[in-house]
Structures are given as structure tokens and as C-alpha cells.
């Protein structure tokens, strides 16, 4: 019984949200199609946008930018984090940078990014990168600084060079922490790219949202919101899957 409930849990939750949405759109203060269109209307708009090719195209654009931003942030954040976790010099140099970067509202840099990188994908990828890189760097640094000393010494005694220790001992040992940071970073990348597309863009899901808003086609706005949420959800699920594979050796970590 409880297994059945656990299996059906996600489905029940989705149904509950849709039901509440439908009820709110049908009655009460939100019953205004410009504020909250009914689920049916949004679904119809989504189907129409899918058929005329708009939705697949915008989705593809946003997905491409998100993956680029995340990949760059993963490489840079992991490298920075490993350096910070293992070298006092790197820690002293990078910690204020990462701390400040973490706290800065990245969107404030977007005008400068647009001037530097233009109105194309560059500025959006940069904003997604900026949202993603700091949590990854911070989580990796924390994990890398906690690698048990005996592991490192065992490797050094076996004849591993410092570079080999960093790559083949510290990196795998810090992987659980790195991947936790990557999960937060991935969502950050989605949001950064989407907001960049909202502010200045002619394509992408963020642009679809702003276009729907400007033209008072609120159902298109919600198609965009639903699409970007599902995109983030699906990417996060993929990352969890990868994490489970990568951390097979640590069953309790793979939850």
C-alpha cells in the first residue's frame, strides 16, 4: 500500500497542482484570463506553439545556451574549487572573489555583458555561467579541503605526482560535494539564461515569455514558464541519474 502510494506520489502531486490551478482560474480573485489562464487554455496554446514549430525552436535555443553555460561553469568551478581546496595561496586569492561573486546579483552585470558580447547567445550564456559557477566552486572547495589526509599520503607514497594526486585522488574524493554544487549550479544556469532571454533577446523561452506578456497573450507566457520549469526539472533528473552512476561506490551518497 505505502509502496503504491510512493509510486503514485508524483502523479498525485501533479494532479493536485493542476486541480488547484484549474479551481483558482475558474473562481475567486485569480479568475481573470490575463492573470491566470485555465490549464486547458495553456495546454491548447502549447499544442499550437508546438505544431507551428515555435516551441521546439525556442526550447532548443534555451537548452543549447543552458548546456553551454553549465559545461563552462562546471569546468571553471571545479578547477577553481580544487585549487581553493588544496592550495592556501589559491584559497587566499579566490575566496574573496567567490564570496563576492556568490552574493552579487548577476543580472546587474547583464547590460555590460550585452555591450561586450552582443545581443546573441554570448551574453545569455555568460549570465547562466555567472549564476552557476559560484555554487560549484564553493561546494568543490569545501569537499576538496576535507579529503582525508591518509588517502593523499597513501597515493604520494605509492609514487603519485602532485598532479596525479589532484586528478586521481582529490577529484574523485571531492566528487560527491562537487555534484551537489553542480545541481545548484545547473538550476542557476537555467535561470540565468532564461532571465537573459527575458531582458534582451529575439529568441529562447525567456523571449517567448516576454512576447506573450507584451501582447497580453498570457497563456503563451505560462507556456514558457511551464516549459522552462520542465526543462530545469528534466536536466536535474538527468544529473541525478549521472550522479547515481558516478557514485555507485558510495550507496548512501547516491540518494
Amino acid at each position: 500500500m505505502s509502496r503504491l502510494l510512493a509510486r503514485c506520489g508524483p502523479l498525485l502531486a501533479v494532479l493536485a497542482v493542476l486541480g488547484a490551478w484549474w479551481a483558482a482560474a475558474a473562481t475567486g480573485a485569480l479568475a481573470d484570463p490575463f492573470v491566470l489562464p485555465a490549464p486547458g487554455a495553456v495546454a491548447r496554446a502549447a499544442a499550437a506553439l508546438w505544431r507551428d514549430g515555435t516551441l521546439p525552436h525556442e526550447l532548443g535555443v534555451t537548452l543549447g545556451r543552458t548546456l553551454a553555460a553549465f559545461a563552462l561553469a562546471l569546468a571553471a568551478g571545479a578547477a577553481m574549487g580544487l585549487a581553493m581546496g588544496r592550495s592556501a595561496t589559491a584559497r587566499a586569492a579566490l575566496r574573496p572573489l567567490v564570496g563576492l561573486g556568490f552574493a552579487t546579483p548577476k543580472i546587474a552585470l547583464f547590460p555590460a555583458l550585452v555591450i561586450l558580447l552582443g545581443l546573441g547567445s554570448g551574453a545569455k550564456v555568460a549570465l547562466g555561467f555567472a549564476e552557476a559557477v559560484f555554487p560549484i566552486a564553493a561546494a568543490t572547495a569545501a569537499a576538496a579541503s576535507q579529503v582525508p589526509v591518509p588517502l593523499v599520503w597513501s597515493a604520494r607514497a605509492a609514487g603519485a605526482s602532485r598532479a596525479a594526486v589532484a586528478l586521481r585522488v582529490v577529484l574523485p574524493a571531492a566528487l560527491p560535494g562537487l555534484l551537489s554544487g553542480a545541481r545548484i549550479g545547473l538550476v542557476g544556469a537555467v535561470i540565468g539564461v532564461y532571465i537573459g532571454e527575458m531582458v534582451a533577446s529575439s529568441d529562447g523561452l525567456g523571449h517567448l515569455m516576454v512576447a506573450g506578456w507584451r501582447q497580453l497573450e498570457t497563456d503563451r507566457l505560462y507556456v514558457s514558464v511551464a516549459a522552462v520549469s520542465l526543462l530545469g526539472f528534466a536536466l536535474d533528473a538527468l544529473l541525478l541519474l549521472a550522479r547515481r552512476r558516478l557514485l555507485r561506490w558510495a550507496p548512501e551518497q547516491a540518494a
Binding site: 582525508p148 591518509p150 588517502l151 599520503w153 597513501s154 604520494r156 607514497a157 605509492a158 574524493a173 561506490w249
Partner: protein
């Protein structure tokens, strides 16, 4: 008695001369961990270090390993000063220190690879080493799936894989139950007798030290100095029952305890 030279005239495998160590911490100020230790260990010898808790045994072992720099004195291995870790000195820790993301075989093969054993020869060499420590069947398991005794066997196999001349062991059996501990002691002695490696073995157990060692180095409380060096002299290969039943055993046991108490057992 401070200097502890081996009998006979062979060149020592390890020579510790005036080794001292101070830790400088922000909160505790300067802590003198080791106050000048002289010790020669001859090739193939099994030497135990015993001493009160916190006296600096681990620190001394880490200095020999080259992981920690001494603040005074020198350590020579084969006549060359030790300045960094090296494959001639393998280490086994109380907490096993296996790579949790590698399988049992992967841990051992990794050390073989660091030694430059060609890829094609590694599986057979890994199997042989695991055989040595009686773990052939669990080669494909991850460390998290092993018992403490099995983990320590893997750690020993991995250290043997680097083929060191000197085995440094920091309370390797301290975290194991009495039965497993006895078993691993016997296995270690068998491996040692077969390979002729030099062993420096830190332990809290006087019984373990007397059973295993050629010489037991008793250290004082912090800062550690050599109080006395005791040679149990039981016949090799050793048999636990015979050692415990030996008429000399009670006196040796009592002597080490007396030294530990006088030296300030905590």
C-alpha cells in the same frame, strides 16, 4: 639509554639521528612532539614503537615516511636523507585509507600502475597480491562493502603492491576486534618472513609488540625520547602460544609496562 643501534655491523636500512619535531599552533602555542630520537633499523628488521598516547609515535612514523618534515635531526633511508614520500616507504594507517571509488582489485592495481607495472601484467599481479592476504573472492567489491579486517587486508595488499623496502604501520590493527587482530598479526608475520621487508610498527598493545617484533622501542611521554629498547628474542617463526608460554614473557611484559608508567602513561 638514548642511542639504539642494531647489533652487528651492516648498514642500517633506516637511521634516525636526533629527530625532533615541534608543532606551532595558533591556540596551543608551540608543542614539542618529539624531543630527539636516535634509532637505527637494520634491513629486514621488525621494530615496534610503543609509548603513551599522544607522545608522538604517529608523528615519528610520518617523518620517516617523508609526509611531515622534522624540525631537527635527520632521517636516512639506505644512507640517503628522506625529504619526501617515496615508493621505497609504504604506509598503512589505522583507518585503512582505501580509495572508496575503486574496487578492491582497483585499489591494488592502482598502486601497481604507479610503480610502472605494464597494464597487461596488472590483473595477474593484483590476483597474486590479493591471494597473499586471502581476499581473492572479493576483488570486485567496493571498500564500503567490506568488514574492517578485510579493508585492512586490502590496504596491506595495496601497500605491498608498491613493493616498498620499508613498511610503516600506524596502529594498523587498532580498530579491529581481538580475533581479527590475531589473525592479521599472523598473516603479517607470514608476509614479513616471506618478503624480508623492514617494518616499523606503531602499537598501543604491549602484547602485540612483544609477539611481532625483533625490537620494541619504548618511547617517553611527549616530547618523545627513546626510554629503552627491548629485544624479546623469541624463536622465529613465532607461535603465539609459545610466546605467551615462554618463561621470559611475563618479565618482558612487566618491564615494558613499568617503563610506560614511569614515562608517564596517560
Amino acid at each position: 639509554m638514548t642511542a639504539a643501534g642494531p647489533p652487528g655491523g651492516t648498514r642500517p636500512k633506516l637511521r634516525l639521528a636526533g629527530v625532533a619535531k615541534e608543532y606551532t599552533g595558533r591556540r596551543r602555542g608551540t608543542v614539542r612532539a618529539i624531543g630527539g630520537v636516535d634509532l637505527d633499523v637494520r634491513p629486514g628488521e621488525f621494530v615496534s614503537l610503543v609509548g603513551p598516547s599522544g607522545c608522538g609515535k604517529s608523528t615519528l612514523l610520518y617523518i620517516i615516511g617523508g609526509f611531515v618534515a622534522a624540525s631537527g635531526g635527520t632521517v636516512d633511508c639506505d644512507g640517503r636523507p628522506v625529504t619526501a614520500p617515496g615508493p621505497d616507504r609504504g604506509i598503512v594507517f589505522q583507518e585503512f585509507a582505501l580509495f572508496p571509488w575503486r574496487t578492491v582489485a582497483g585499489n591494488v592495481a592502482w598502486a601497481l600502475a604507479r610503480r610502472g607495472v605494464p597494464r597487461a601484467e596488472r590483473p595477474a599481479a593484483t590476483a597474486r597480491l590479493l591471494e597473499t592476504v586471502g581476499l581473492a573472492e572479493v576483488a570486485r567489491l567496493y571498500p564500503a562493502e567490506l568488514s574492517g579486517g578485510m579493508k585492512q587486508r586490502v590496504a596491506i595488499a595495496r601497500t605491498l603492491a608498491q613493493d616498498p623496502d620499508v613498511l610503516l604501520m600506524d596502529e594498523p590493527f587498532g580498530a579491529l576486534d581481538a580475533q581479527t587482530r590475531a589473525l592479521l598479526q599472523e598473516e603479517l608475520l607470514a608476509v614479513w618472513e616471506r618478503t624480508g621487508k623492514t617494518v616499523v610498527f606503531v602499537t598501543h598493545s604491549v602484547e602485540e609488540a612483544l609477539y611481532l617484533s625483533d625490537r620494541v622501542v619504548v618511547l617517553s611521554r611527549r616530547p618523545a625520547r627513546v626510554l629503552e629498547v627491548i629485544e624479546p628474542g623469541f624463536a622465529r617463526p613465532r607461535d603465539r602460544e609459545k610466546v605467551l608460554a615462554d618463561p621470559a614473557y611475563p618479565a618482558l611484559h612487566a618491564r615494558v609496562w613499568e617503563l610506560l608508567r614511569a614515562g608517564g602513561a596517560a
